[in-house]
Amino acid sequence: MRKQLDELSGKSKELRKIILEMCIRAGTGHVTSSLSCIDLLIALYHGGLLNCDAANPSWPQRDRFIMSKGQGSPALYAVLADLGFFDQRELDRFAQQGGRFGVHLQHDVPGVEITSGSLGHGFGIAAGMALGAKLDRELHLVFAMLGDGECYEGSIWETAMFAAHHRLNNLIVLIDRNYMCVTDFTENLVQLEPFDQKWKAFGWDVVNIDGHSFERIFEALSSVRSRKSIRPLAVIAETVKGRGIASLCYDPLWHAVVPQGADQDAARLCLERWCTHE
């Protein structure tokens, strides 16, 4: 287990660098949103929590992973490329002429289930897939990744009610709780707290974890397939937007901005130091 955790930790550093360079090369992309959720993605994909097959992305028995926060696409693309869902060289052309995909998630990329970018859609789609699986007695799970800022969308709560009512215990939502939105911190904008109680009140099982700790992520999810609860599961993962690059953290400015000039060097240096010393 320790060995695996170390490997995942190494992957976390490696893919962070890839994400930063993808976005710098393109001059666009949501670096910080990607860095807050990348460890959750690595745990799912590299850590084996998610059943999938890079050689057969549409394998019918695969678990579905729905990236509802489509602006985190660089993180998902980096993970999928690393696992061989498509040629890694595609990452070099991210959001550039001749490239296969852009800033927001695209359904026709191998391993990607939906087009996303407009928030509040993917969660409902995931619930529909979970219902479909129940109706067809399929055993696969459906995971959805939401941003906490996405939870301002009313449609999220329409789906939350629906999923609990229909006892979609095959639906697991991972909420990237980085406390930041586009222009401000969530608790300054419109308070989301007490966030976990809201999900509980909507009929969900809820666990709060450190979304950058592979140990905590595994604690929350490793027995998810043998869960006895009839409720869907919300994993509220406390994260840091921009995690790994201190110069980009805790400042909403960096939501959709890629570092330029001296900021680029600072970002690279921060990441290198974090990778070396963390």
Partner: protein
């Protein structure tokens, strides 16, 4: 008069097919109909009521469609179109999921409910989305046929149903696949109508025939408009009148304009009759039935007849 409302004709046909195909599912946003009760009762696994949450109805439908289901979503027309427009855009226009969006209450179909329930912009707005077919239903026979067609469509479609009982115009053998139908033959002068206005246009054309003015009647029941067929039908036409219970911006008349303009037939004199943008919704707060509302917008039979006669004079 038809014995069956369009919605029941539609759902009865879908139900008959769904009995043999468990992948057909209906997601309703708390809209009922006698014909839907049989789904609830006999096919409970194929019927989901999401409550008054139309946007959720569409995203749930999208997830089911991705799971291999053929999904119908159902609500009052403005709520399944305008309220969910962006869900429809992403899930069907962009991702291409073949969901059938069923809206009841085209035009003034809920005449006493006020403008929130009137559906006067849906053709324009849904027509602006690529990858989606619009079926503007003019009678119950067509409603049933389109119910059947929807079960097999590999592309998304929007079905706009009238809520009121209207006469049957078609026989059950009609092939609706060409997208428009000539209900009364014509040569150089035609009325072009859609939805409930098709009945109105046909009645007016028959009355005017008795007065010596011969007009053909074309029912446009599918958008995008079948330009090739339309141009063939109106190849000798010099004057046309389009009639719709819909705002003039972007509706049937606009679609006809586009086809004429884009095919060097701009010389055809087209009068577009519908709800004026200037008048807006001010005429909608009148009660007492559809005819009362139509009169507010100059769409009652007498006004229509006058405007038509003037155009063809």
């Amino acid at each position: 008069m038809s014995s069956l409302p369009q919605r029941d004709a539609f759902w009865n046909r879908v139900f008959d097919i769904a009995k043999k195909d468990r992948n057909i599912m209906v997601i309703t946003a708390d809209m009922g109909a006698p014909s839907l009760d049989q789904f609830r009762k006999d096919l409970p696994a194929q019927f989901v009521n999401v409550g008054i949450a139309e946007q959720n109805a569409v995203t749930i439908a999208a997830g089911l469609a991705l799971s291999g289901k053929k999904v119908f979503t159902y609500a009052i027309a403005p709520f399944i179109t305008l309220r969910c427009l962006e869900q429809i855009r992403v899930e069907s226009a962009i991702m291409g999921l073949p969901i059938t969006f069923v809206g009841v209450g085209a035009g003034f179909g809920y005449p006493d409910s006020g403008p929130t329930h009137h559906m006067l912009e849906d053709i324009a707005i849904m027509r602006a989305l690529p990858n989606i077919i619009i079926h503007s239903i003019s009678d119950s026979v067509m409603a049933a046929a389109i119910g059947e067609r929807s079960c097999g469509l590999k592309i998304a479609n929007y079905v706009r149903l009238d809520r009121q009982l209207l006469p049957d115009l078609y026989d059950s053998a009609t092939d609706f696949s060409p997208g428009l139908t000539v209900l009364k033959e014509g040569t150089d002068r035609f009325l072009v109508a859609t939805g409930s206005m098709t009945t109105t246009a046909l009645a007016i054309a028959r009355r005017l025939e008795d007065r010596g003015l011969s007009l053909g009647v074309i029912d446009v029941h599918t958008f995008p408009l079948n330009a090739e067929l339309f141009l063939r039908i109106v190849q000798s036409a010099t004057k046309l009148v389009s009639i719709e219970e819909h705002f003039l911006a972007g509706g049937l008349g606009s679609a006809v304009c586009e086809v004429l303009n884009d095919n060097n037939r701009g010389s055809v004199q087209l009068a577009r009759i519908g709800l004026s943008m200037e008048q807006g919704f001010t005429g909608c707060y009148h009660y007492g039935g559809r005819d009362v509302l139509r009169k507010q917008y100059g769409l009652d039979d007498a006004s229509l007849e006058q405007r038509i006669v003037r155009h063809f004079a």
